[in-house]
Symmetry: C2
Subunit: 425 residues, 2 copies
Amino acid sequence: MATTKSKPRNAFYAQSGGVTAVINASAAGVIETARKHKNRIGRVYAGRNGIIGALTEDLIDTSKESAAAIAALKHTPAGAFGSCRYKLKSFEESRAQYERLIEVFRAHDIGYFFYNGGNDSADTCLKVSQISEKLGYPVVAVHVPKTVDNDLAITDNCPGFGSVAKYVATSMREAAFDVASMAKTSTRLFVMEVMGRHAGWITAAVGLADDANTPIPLLLLFPEVRYDEAKFMAAVDAKVKAFGYCCIGVSEGLLAADGKLMSDSGVRDAFGHAQLGGVGPMIAQRVKDTLGLKYHWAVADYLQRAARHLASKTDLDQSYAVGKAAVELALAGHNAVMPAIRRVSDKPYRWTIDIAPLSKVANAEKMLPRDFITADGYGITAKARRYLAPLVKGEAPPPFKDGLPRYVRLRNAPVPRKLATPFDV
Amino acid sequence: MATTKSKPRNAFYAQSGGVTAVINASAAGVIETARKHKNRIGRVYAGRNGIIGALTEDLIDTSKESAAAIAALKHTPAGAFGSCRYKLKSFEESRAQYERLIEVFRAHDIGYFFYNGGNDSADTCLKVSQISEKLGYPVVAVHVPKTVDNDLAITDNCPGFGSVAKYVATSMREAAFDVASMAKTSTRLFVMEVMGRHAGWITAAVGLADDANTPIPLLLLFPEVRYDEAKFMAAVDAKVKAFGYCCIGVSEGLLAADGKLMSDSGVRDAFGHAQLGGVGPMIAQRVKDTLGLKYHWAVADYLQRAARHLASKTDLDQSYAVGKAAVELALAGHNAVMPAIRRVSDKPYRWTIDIAPLSKVANAEKMLPRDFITADGYGITAKARRYLAPLVKGEAPPPFKDGLPRYVRLRNAPVPRKLATPFDV
């Protein structure tokens, strides 16, 4: 049976890259909005484990999920359909992959492609958007922004970041109260390592822990500022002399003076073992060796990006909004675009959704502006605070049952396969 | 002016050892209850940095704090007056310390001694309770239980533990959702290291992340179960084969087959305990070396015990209740006791406060019962779940301002010194 223009076509949605506390809210935005347009969009098929699900024809029929289950995605962290780290190469390098995508899309009458991810995913989405033109299969591709790293171009901020920002600022504030209690006879140094390998957005967010209402002796080690041990030790020493203790937020991507990752610099960790991936313990040990301070350190790792229990309401709303907008943009005929958040005003915080061309988003990386970092390199400026403050605002706790968050797991019913041919990824 | 029986005497309150998310609720319980009995208790003086504040005559006049500030302690983590790791030795070894305490108590007419801590503090409190009899100064000493380790004798559970339990179970559940999303192409192993030096109560609480509603492939490494690498690797391998990923909760106090700590930083605290940390990354690396799984690991460290934003309502209520009961017990003439939580029923959970003699609490350590651990050594039994479940129940979030928890800092006004002599601690 041939597909006609008037007949609704199906949509493909997939999650890509590192997941977040609120990426499923974007999924809910896509699916709930598509369900409101049944005359245009038939079913939403999700890729099991991202684009791999498309390549292997491993599709999930989201129409089998109840409205309540889809709504529950708004309070459930991580990727409900599975994500992947898998980047499509160029048409020239990997023509077989694109032809396979078309084969699967054609078999399941997929006319809309929604890809929820970061920089790499924007690039994949851009390539898929060109399938129509280059390979003659009609599909509209819209990217749904997501990354805790907050490093996507054009959009004022990235869905997923605000919740991590809220988590790291809250955690540092809480830990600082703890260290302050212990400093007289015990711990005087607390180091928390945070994510953000190339851009210091999450490191900057740690800075929110320290504000006029709740001052904390806090130093930040940004990936943008090369580590200068003598200067840093002097800064720690000054904080300890003034306040009795010191807290440090350090990016996993901190660079040594020679530009190499501190965590790859061959220095042994706090326990004399070969590097296990922690610049946090390394910094703690160095301060102890130099200043003799007893330390504690934390590496929250996945806890920071999965902490749906402490999500930012602003972030949640925006995550849902970009999912919804993606469907609306596709229905309006936009191809190769991404809904981008535009800040209308700082205070009161107001935002709206713009249309960003994917060609300007793909593979670009938005770095932390230098004027967000104080002159000494260890703090955030008033400008940074103005930018960050609204992103962590508002609470949106999940439902709790028996004292623990109750998160949804979808049925994830497979769409019956139509192709006889397997495909290796 | 001599003190008469009818004249109100002052109280001393101090926080000791590692702090918790809810120890300040006990402080609020003590102070608010004392304020209701002004005919019997004059002022509550808090020790700045625990017992050190008493020895150095560094006292805080809590009567200078507003009712609102004291009430705000209920939603503020860590030790509002400062804590310390400092253990009084025996009368025979340190007679000068006890004489100094009496000197300070006499100077400030302190007739009540409330000490908020764990095992070591219970011992200190017991010794102070004997001052009347052994050194002739009239003082009533009541211990207020507190420890995230949940290892105090007599009491069914320890204030502070329920909130850590809620934090680690929530965090593991959230991280498990994250790993499940990533497992197809990336991370398949997640290791979270938790506190609990000798007793595996916190490790057991991680087990709550996995329940009938939300099954998670989870293995626990208890301090009570010697690490058996071959057996453990087989267990991880089985989980990964069945579920595609595996989560591990490991105690900082995990012991190797030879009974030595798997990871010992070599640093010891004032009590002579080893400062731990780092077994999480070690286990992750071993699994990678053996099974080749990509891993992530987290060490929440202070984050777990300071996380007031995720406190258990049950824990909060009990923390307040033991503070209140301590004052009531002292007023009823009980000396050398501790208010202990007695479980009346599991379901519905009901509890009451009993009176425990300090001689039975001091220096005892309540270990995790062996029948709380499954036969294979890697999980918790139904009996453990029945015990743990009510302790994490209920939410009691702090007020948020601008997206972050708003915690109180007290004025902590000093009580004017009356003694000319300094005292070195």
